[in-house]
């Protein structure tokens, strides 16, 4: 949303000359950002893309390459099937976490913003639900690993309560491991999403609700026919940014499965795969994988950009 007030500022004052000279300071103040961006982000990005076209890996202690191989690294990524498998894992765990996350967030935010409900202790509940978002993901994953271990407290509790007959081995079950990763992601992010959606709901003009009220709409109708459609831009924003975040899923499954993605690499994510190549110094494949991730996130970012831009236009139209 390029700001509308950008151009009004010093444009028509060139006559004095002094202001024009002062605008040099705009460039000077921009310098730290530009320099750091070029050195620590642009150069690494170009280097990564460059590396994706070269064969460059360690065979035992011997380094192979770098030799230019064109798009062979990309071909290898797709041929081995690992990429597709890990992309699938990432998406499954993201969806498993995102669905309860968005349902819970919609429910809570519509309650919090509902004037007729007048819920008390809102500050307390908001503080609690946002808390997991700030916790170090790696420590949180380690905590879950100890909690859900076969000798851990969760098994202890469930056996005591008679829910389990005997301790259940969570980390050898595909569903349980993926489910735990999804559960943790949901727990860490639903508070954040709730607060974002609340802002969206509070932004809907009151007269629309009043009109619905006069027409005798039920709360359910109001939610499905008014709140949800008007919330669409924010929902798309939340979904796409969550998807971009989901593609970066790393800390939780990495710590939970000790980097192995067990059982049988069914909880291995794309970034864990990238991390593995970086550690084994297979720079060709790491580069190719990075480029693919870059392309996917660029497309998704573009969608966010479009949607928030449209939202801005709608606001002006109002």
């Amino acid at each position: 949303m390029p700001n509308k007030d950008l151009n009004v500022q010093f444009t028509n004052r060139g006559r004095s000359g002094k202001i024009d000279k002062l605008n040099i300071w705009g460039y000077i103040f921009l310098l730290p950002f530009t320099l750091v961006f070029i050195v620590f982000q642009l150069i690494p990005l170009v280097n990564t893309i460059y590396n994706s076209f070269f064969e460059n890996y360690m065979a035992g202690l011997k380094q192979v390459g770098p030799n230019f191989v064109g798009l062979a690294n990309f071909g290898e990524l797709f041929k081995s099937g690992d990429l597709v498998k890990y992309f699938g894992n990432t998406m499954i765990m993201w969806i498993l976490g995102f669905i309860p996350q968005i349902v819970l967030s919609l429910l809570l935010s519509s309650w919090f913003t509902n004037p007729s409900l007048r819920l008390r202790f809102q500050r307390f509940f908001k503080t609690v639900i946002y808390l997991p978002n700030l916790i170090m993901a790696s420590a949180f994953a380690m905590l879950f690993f100890t909690m859900f271990d076969i000798t851990g407290p969760v098994n202890g509790l469930f056996v005591k309560l008679g829910i389990f007959k005997e301790p259940f081995s969570f980390f050898t079950s595909i569903g349980a491991t993926r489910g735990l990763v999804a559960f943790m992601n949901c727990l860490m992010w639903f508070g954040n999403t709730t607060i974002l959606l609340m802002a969206g709901m509070l932004g809907i003009p009151v007269d629309i609700f009043e009109a619905a009220d006069v027409d005798g709409a039920t709360p359910t109708q109001v939610f499905w026919k008014i709140t949800l459609p008007l919330l669409r831009p924010i929902l798309v924003y939340v979904m796409v940014t969550s998807l971009i975040g989901g593609l970066q899923m790393f800390d939780v499954p990495q710590i939970l499965t000790n980097g192995k993605g067990d059982p049988m690499r069914t909880s291995m994510t794309l970034i864990m795969y990238l991390n593995k190549h970086l550690y084994s110094k297979n720079y060709g494949l790491a580069g190719a994988l990075s480029v693919l991730l870059l392309i996917i996130t660029a497309i998704l970012s573009f969608i966010v950009f479009k949607v928030t831009g449209e939202e801005e236009l709608n606001k002006k139209a109002r």
Partner: protein, 295 residues
Amino acid sequence: MAGNTNSSSADAEFKSASGTLKARRAVCYVVLVIISILCLFWFYMLFINATRSNDELGQGFTLLPSSHLGENLKNIFNNGTIPIVSGMANSVIIAALTALLSTYFSTMTAYSIQVYNYKGKKAIFTFILAIMMIPTQVSALGFVNLVKGMNLEDNFIPLIVPSIAAPITFFYLKQYMAANLPLSLIEAARIDGEHEIGIFNKIALPLMIPAIAVQAIFTFVSSWNNYFTPALILHDSSKKTLPILIAQLRNADFLKFDMGQVYAMIAFSIFPVIVVYLFLSKYIVGGVTAGGVKE
């Protein structure tokens, strides 16, 4: 953002039947309490287990604390293989400097875009917004190569300095500045003969403190929690940050370990953030929307 009275389903149906409203409210509270327990249970169990000895932990589940917290803490402070104290110090240094540099220079970048008028400004602004979503992981390979080339492995510089170019922090501060920095104030200072750098540091920066504080907290927390990049750069155990040490803890032969110590270490890395959060939660929860949704 409008007030609470502004919003959804002000429905006649429930106003007339206050019994139904009460029932609905009760359902809300029950669900909210269950969700809160689901959020807090893990941290409560962490605290309980950090107070128990390895033997007690072997005896199974309990909700009551024991008396071995001091002993467990003493053990982790003396643990030679996982230096948790230096890990905490390293994490604090890196996160604090990152928050400081990132907010200062992001304010400067925002100031450049907001206050001055020059060629290419619009393009630069659009460009920064466009790269906002690109994750750092996609350039990690080139970043590691660069750091090796600069001979900066096991150094904190590559973890701190890159945060000077932080598009999201910049965007938040830019939005805040557009609403809260009167250009007339800058003009007046110019007439008084103040230097441009002086105007930025003495007039613009103080006015931005509320927004800078919010962003400083978020930057601190995300640097504190960062595991991926530091793990690629820091190899020397005296240089490692908390998340790397936690990963090492996961790597260690789990069953041979003193579980009391394991819980104490996790607690040691989680509870400082929780304590700080409880003091600052008002600003943090309020700051989320301003950064995320473009209003």
